[in-house]
């Protein structure tokens, strides 16, 4: 029996943000700005994993994708535009309502579900994403196991999460939340996971993790992919 991974306080917090989620200048502005950066990483990962033409359109045509912790669909919608049959899952029903309405407005066919991943019985997917999620769950190992169960043979998993460093404590929990760049109460620094810990967790779930790539910030470049892992990082994983 899978452990419950949803922390009720977390689901509440994000549920309250739901209405504002699609406003690029609203409470989720930072996530909007992060989106092109993590999507660029994702696209390169898809091209490398499935040997695709980097300039080709719809690289996910004919493939299924699962976005866990989908929020209001910021990642799920681009995945659908890239051609995937997308399922989005989130703990907060408010998010799922907003996500469903937004996809309909944009003419995108995306299946959204709310609840505990293991209980939904969604089957397996070619692509499994959980971006900025694992730091919010109650039991990381059982969450990782559930993700691994959802990954089809030959499939690709993409994760992103904040690192647990003095820099991330200062910037992501301290500065960004105080300045309002990230809504207060979004992050619990003690629950952040280092790349080494993530490697162990994914390994125990039967997955093999890639070298992590950082997301850094500079005034000139804004948010960008970098070798600096101190704030936030992305990894891919495949079945070991």
């Amino acid at each position: 029996m899978a452990n419950a991974t949803i922390r009720p306080d977390e689901a509440d917090h994000f549920g309250r943000l739901a209405q504002d989620w699609w406003d690029p200048r609203g409470a989720s502005a930072m996530l909007h700005r992060l989106n092109p950066v993590r999507l660029a990483f994702l696209r390169d990962a898809l091209d490398a994993h499935w040997h695709l033409d980097p300039q080709g359109g719809r690289p996910l045509a004919g493939k299924s994708a699962l976005d866990v912790g989908c929020g209001a669909g910021l990642l799920a919608e681009p995945l659908a535009r890239l051609g995937a049959a997308v399922t989005g899952v989130d703990a907060a029903p408010e998010n799922i309502a907003v996500a469903t309405a937004h996809a309909r407005g944009g003419g995108l066919d995306i299946r959204y579900r709310h609840g505990e991943l293991a209980a939904l019985g969604l089957g397996q997917f070619d692509l499994v994403c959980a971006m900025e999620v694992i730091e919010h769950v109650a039991d990381t190992q059982s969450f990782a196991n559930q993700l691994a169960d959802c990954l089809a043979p030959g499939g690709l998993m993409v994760l992103s999460t904040p690192n647990r460093t003095p820099a991330s404590r200062l910037v992501m929990v301290g500065l960004a939340e105080r300045l309002g760049a990230i809504p207060a109460g979004t992050h619990d620094w003690d629950a952040f996971i280092t790349p080494d810990e993530l490697d162990d967790i994914l390994g125990a779930a039967g997955l093999c993790m890639s070298a992590p790539v950082g997301i850094a910030f500079s005034p000139g470049k804004g948010l960008h992919l970098s070798a600096d892992l101190s704030l936030n990082y992305l990894v891919t994983a495949v079945r070991a």
């Binding site: 699609w22 690029p24 200048r25 909007h32 700005r33 989106n35 092109p36 999507l39 660029a40 994702l42 696209r43 980097p54 300039q55 359109g57 919608e77 681009p78 995945l79 659908a80 535009r81 890239l82 407005g105 944009g106 003419g107």
Partner: protein, 407 residues
């Protein structure tokens, strides 16, 4: 409302139509709406202007497949001669043999014909002209335009390319910094006795700049240049009232016989000049391109070139976005376009504006400063290089589509 496309381009002039073709080149579909009848726009005598196409702009045309169609109509500019009212002290911008050329001169009509022919054959472009937009809508999920005949065109992103008086820009409330020069450009095609040797002349008079741009020889072998003579608005009525013959005499006086005897080769036209610049060139699901974003003084011949850089940057941003699954109207993409273009537009507009002001002040002392200034530019290598790179359109961060990808 079924035919929803990526772009709804309002204004299918030189910039709008190039945008549609460049977007199609990267797989993006568009509606193009223009008020005017294409047949009238390409009618001989509608637009007697000629444009200096920088190397970067030429690369754009080549990269979207117009190179072979346009090449026979361009006159290469081998050098630019800049003088202060023909007084001693002349800056010559002449690239080294191994450097890129300074551009080519094209009649606007030839550019339009080539763009329109290509657009007609492009399945990704739906061209509606003449057509009048009676209502525009921009919302969270898309944009649309209602045409006078009742048709409704829908897309993900609206692009305003309606030129200097863009109603779409005004309706969106994008503020405009405006300098009115109170000047007017007199345009005509000249034929002249001596060949121009592919040299463009910018002669600065206190009343305004006087430019001669080399054109290809005419059918009978006559040597030709395009004239852009700027006069103060208060003098414009007088110049416009001149007979052709008196006009030629006035022009000859300002040319000091550099090309020998001259004759008028086309009807004279005049255009009011002004400089405008908007810092905000985007709004929700809206991007401004071309003169709608930065109508400006033509002395440096950069208006169209800047507009084509807008096109290169916007198409690159949208194609990069499509590659990662972002909607063409995505706010992050528009923010990148605006950041990219703002610095560039402002520095060129500002340099052009400063030049006009520097050369527009009469009197002996300013003239001495100008001459000294030119001698300075002549001597200071880096500054001269900057001027030349500006003319070629290869300074700053150049969009992929404006690079020479043939090599």
């Amino acid at each position: 409302m079924t035919d929803k496309r990526d772009l709804l381009i309002l204004g299918g002039g030189l910039v709008g139509m190039t945008l549609a073709l460049a977007a199609a080149h990267r797989g993006l579909s568009s509606h193009v709406v223009d008020l005017a009848d294409p047949a009238e726009l390409t009618h001989a005598g509608f637009d007697g202007r000629a444009s200096a196409i920088s190397t970067a702009s030429w690369n754009l045309f080549s990269n979207i497949g117009l190179g072979p169609r346009l090449a026979p109509h361009g006159c290469p500019i081998d050098a630019i001669a800049v003088t202060d009212g023909m007084k001693p002290g002349r800056i010559d911008f002449r690239p080294e043999p191994n450097e890129a050329s300074l551009g080519r001169m094209f009649a606007n009509r030839e550019l339009r014909l080539a763009l329109f022919e290509a657009a007609k054959d492009e399945p990704l472009i739906a061209w509606h002209a003449p057509a009048q937009v009676v209502k525009r809508e921009r919302g969270e999920f898309g944009v649309s335009a209602l045409l006078a005949d009742g048709r409704r065109l829908a897309a993900a992103l609206m692009c305003a390319a309606e030129g200097r008086r863009s109603p779409t820009r005004d309706e969106a409330g994008l503020p405009l910094a405006h300098w009115d020069y109170r000047h007017r450009a007199m345009i005509a095609e000249l034929s002249h006795e001596k060949p121009h040797d592919n040299v463009a002349w910018e002669i600065f008079y206190p009343a305004g700049p006087f430019a001669l741009l080399p054109m290809l020889d005419g059918p009978g072998g006559s040597h030709r240049s395009a004239l852009v003579w700027t006069v103060a608005e208060k003098d414009a009525a007088g110049v416009l009232a001149l007979s052709d013959r008196a006009f030629v005499t006035e022009v000859e006086q300002r040319m000091h016989g550099i090309f020998g005897a001259i004759a008028l080769d086309s009807p004279r036209q005049s255009y009011p000049l002004g400089f405008q610049h908007t810092a905000k060139i985007t709004a929700q699901r809206l991007a401004l391109v071309g003169d709608a974003a930065h109508g400006m003084h033509p002395i440096a011949g950069q208006g169209l070139n800047l507009g084509l850089r807008d096109v290169g940057a916007l198409v690159e941003v949208l194609a990069d976005g499509a590659r990662i699954g972002l909607d063409p109207g995505d706010a992050q993409l528009l923010a990148r376009y605006e950041r990219w273009r703002n610095l560039d537009n402002f520095s060129v507009s500002f340099a052009t504006d400063s030049l006009t002001r520097l050369f527009g002040i009469p009197g002996r002392i300013p003239s001495a400063i100008r001459r000294f200034g030119m001698a300075g530019v002549q001597r200071i290598g880096p500054l001269k290089r900057w001027f030349m790179d500006e003319a070629r359109g290869i300074s700053g961060q150049v969009p992929e589509l404006l690079k020479n990808n043939a090599a």
